[in-house]
Amino acid sequence: MPKDLETLTREKKVETDFQSSEVWAKVAGKAVYGIDLILPGMLYGKILRSPHPHARIKSIDTSAAESISGVRTVITAENFSCKPYGIVVDDELPLACGRVRYIGDEVAAVAAVDWKTAEEAAKAIKVEYEVLPSVFKPEEALAEGSPQLHEDFPGNVAWQRDLERGDADAAFGDADLVVESAFSIPAIHAAYLEPIACVAVNDNYTGLTLHTALQSPDSVRTIVAKVLEMPLSRVRVVGPVMGGGFGGKVYGNLNLYIISSMLAIKTGSPVKMLLTREEEFIAGRPMIAAEIKLKMALCRDGTILARESDIITDNGAYSAQAPWVSKTISERNDSVYRIPNIKTRVRLVYTNKVPTGQYRSYGNQAANFATESLIDMAAKKLGIDPLQLRLLNCTRKGDLTVHGLQIKSCALADCLQAAADEIGWEKKIRGRGYGLSAAIHANGSIVFDKNFRGASALARLELDGRVTIFTGEQDYGQGAHTAFTIIAARALGLPPGLVTIQSRDTLISPFSLGALAMRQTTIGGRAVQLAAEKLREKIEITAVEAGSESTGLREGAVNGSSANLIDLAALARYYHGKTSGLNLVGEGKYVPEESDYDESGYGNISVTYSFAAHAAEVEIDRTTGELTLHRIVAVHDSGRIINLLSAIGQVYGGVTQGLGMSCYEGYLFEAGRVANSTFADYKIPTSLDVPVIDYQFVERGDPEGPYGSKGLGEIVMVPVLGAIANAVADAAGDWVTDLPITAEKIYQLMAGWECE
């Protein structure tokens, strides 16, 4: 049973054990998720998807579908302008305009009185296709004469970047050792339990409302408004509880929101749509697959001189967030160590497959697998202990990294040492493999939109003496609201039980960038802190003004029960009366300093950075290659931990997902068709597959984050991949360089088989 707040307060355990009430609603099965929503008069929408990886649409005949009883409307590309839109690159359309580019591409949609009729009607739409040649491999897509996916992107390159810092060529010339290897990472689905679902409601008076759980509701409504050519203030997102997001619901499935909105506009009724699990896999936005070629130059003593990477990311048919993911893959790991010279080429390439997006940490974890494997390969060649090689080169507090990141706090070296100590680096058990890995991750971005770098929040004193915090930052299970509650309570000097967080309605919450890139606690939390401090200040001033003798706020006494404490309810009513209806409000805006970020992408990109080191201990059955994971040790520098229970939860979940990506998961394709589009075939770890996970937090604080805290939600997944890869290599004698690391691949490696 959860302890109530009073008990936690008495035991002084609020900051470790408190959880927001939503958590308990979930545990009790009482939370209402998007997929549960039912509104009066609601219709159900279904999408007809392309059966071909690449084809021209010759004709669409909707008459048979329209004549089915119970069908309210059928829409096609004709209901939209054929102007592509996008998050980063404009290449997507809500419904295909004359051409489909992957199996699952949206062709038409229907709204009907129930699911069955909607499905039937979607099937009754007749589409004539002229099949076009398709291309599934990025290397082939790049080749001359290959089928072209988008007129606006010749050569099938959606986005690319060539980057040089220092003089890598010279450094490679001077090096004592050059190590190189190629790595391959498949597309990965965020595999949240609740498939994406929404209910769109449109009425002429209030405009469009989307009931859907999003990590970044304001970003989504901005795009939806633009595509539907509606004023932004007429598009509102109201969020039910989210059944898992893990980065996959930052933008969710934009086409689904736009299509359901159009169906709602056309019918005048609420329209519910959702992706089935199969649709999640074939038409969701998994994280891009990547082919990473790496080369690193070192001195004999282990000093890293330079790194060169050539990266091709497999975009699928449309780009979504893939350019950002490609950028993170190509860049973030360069700042884990002091690498003075960098040469990078990254190309995001179209293929006739499922469009891609992002997953917890924007590809940092994919790159960690490659870069950290290469560190150990170098250590082996140089005969240097992998821990020592890392300690020699790792980024430290006060550094300005090769890409211009300003490291204001960093306990990476301590994390590495602690992870090694805890896993037993100096007393390894014979026959087992041990691996280490290190990571850095940004806390939100101050360069994503240079004019919108931070966050804001509002703290309002209610007439009953309670406080409501309005924020646009989202809790989707990671505990952001628990953290905000604690932060606000601390700033106000009130018990957390008096604080309520309100974030689920874009009409009343401040505009925000949302839950991505580890922004919530650090950026959003700082705004909450500032808002609460402002409110406190106002309360104190108003108390004086009201002639109150008592001026203090303190935990547990809000109703004036103690002589020198302010009666908050009385004060709220006083102000309310005096102003004929206003509440005392504290506005908090956290506006980080502008960055020196330049055209080449050099400069500080975030207010601060989190660090981590993980260690893995594994064992391999030499007759089959079967891998037993004994333990993962996760040591994190996330500044001061605001709520221990949430932090531990993040570590368990993130490590498990890292393990899934390391050893189990990955899209499989057969001629452009997703071959594993169910949870039976797309294997995520079960509870039996999860090893012992030990956590440690090195709490050194941070000058930027609220109360010295930094982000944790994404970085928890990052170092797992390198740690497991290196532990497997330690046991097997060589590296598996393509994910997932399966028993078969380990065995092939040990048996010296040529792959089939």
């Binding site: 079960t686 048996a751 089939e756």
Partner: protein, 284 residues
């Protein structure tokens, strides 16, 4: 669809007779509900004849509607038909094991159905009753008629029970599987063996592996060669190389390459025979 739960065998047979062409026997429905439920589903999980677990005339008689959990938790079965316990305990997840049945596992005839592999290795027989109320018994290994097909017509026949001769003091059995995760994963390879050991030599070996053919596959050549072979490391080595050589396997994009599967067949064949022999020796 109508769903009928028969309370006694006579009623069940009468319902089958009365609904030709539209009725089908259902047990846990873990397979059937993923395929297509019949117009009339006849639930046979409440019959005394399909749910008993007893020893009669020196044989285990296991009701076809016993769940994998019930089998896995049975002491006598664990003691004297260990391979079946191990197989049933490895299926799916606790939820699946709590409803999926022994009979369903055989009749659904998936090529690597875990319980079926163990049953064939143990030399189990199956007893069916038809519309006339007549029973017949067939060896489980003779029930297969093709991919996902048996010779049992679940529209006009009910499998009542499976019969197994318990292992004697000088016998042992074992089952093992190899899958990509620890639960909820169909095996890349599974295998089971039943052996009889006399004075340090194999008197008889039944060795079954899957998925190779639509039915659990006995390695008949190897079984024969092992008759009279000594219980030694060399013999296990020989099993490993010869098991893989005796059969041809297919690759599967979702599971593994043919080369690896073939290797696993050798490894698992040797492992189950070894484990079964150890049990035979332990018991004495």
């Amino acid at each position: 669809m109508s769903y009928l739960k028969a309370l006694n065998l006579r009623q069940a047979v009468a319902l089958l007779r009365g609904n030709p062409g539209r009725i089908r026997v259902v047990a846990g429905a873990t397979d059937l509900s993923l395929q297509e439920m019949p117009q009339v589903a006849l639930d046979i999980t409440a019959l005394p004849e399909t749910t008993g677990l007893e020893t009669a005339d020196g044989f285990f008689s296991l009701g076809a509607a016993l769940t994998h959990s019930e089998i896995a938790n049975s002491h006598p079965v664990r003691h004297k038909a260990t391979a079946l316990t191990e197989a049933c305990a490895s299926i799916g997840s606790p939820q699946i094991r709590n409803v999926g049945t022994l009979g369903g596992n055989v009749i659904n005839a998936a090529p690597a159905a875990d319980a079926a592999v163990a049953l064939v290795a143990l030399g189990a027989g199956a007893v069916m009753i038809n519309l006339e109320g007549k029973t017949r018994e067939e060896a489980v290994e003779d029930l297969y008629a093709g991919f996902n097909q048996t010779i049992i017509d679940s529209g006009s026949e009910i499998m009542l029970k499976l019969v197994i001769r318990p292992c004697a003091a000088n016998e042992g059995s074992s089952f093992e599987r190899f899958a990509s995760r620890k639960a909820l994963a169909l095996p890349m390879v599974n295998g089971a063996a039943r052996v009889e050991v006399v004075d340090g030599f194999f008197r008889s070996v039944r060795l079954v592996l899957a998925p190779i053919n639509p039915a659990p596959t006995r390695l008949l050549n190897l079984e024969e060669k092992l008759q009279g072979a000594p219980v030694t490391e060399e013999t296990y080595k020989k099993i490993e190389t010869e098991a893989a050589a005796e059969v041809e396997v297919r690759a599967s994009l979702l599971r593994c390459t043919a080369q690896y599967r073939s290797h696993l067949i050798g490894v698992l064949a040797a492992r189950v025979v070894r484990k079964a022999a150890e049990r035979a020796l332990e018991r004495k």
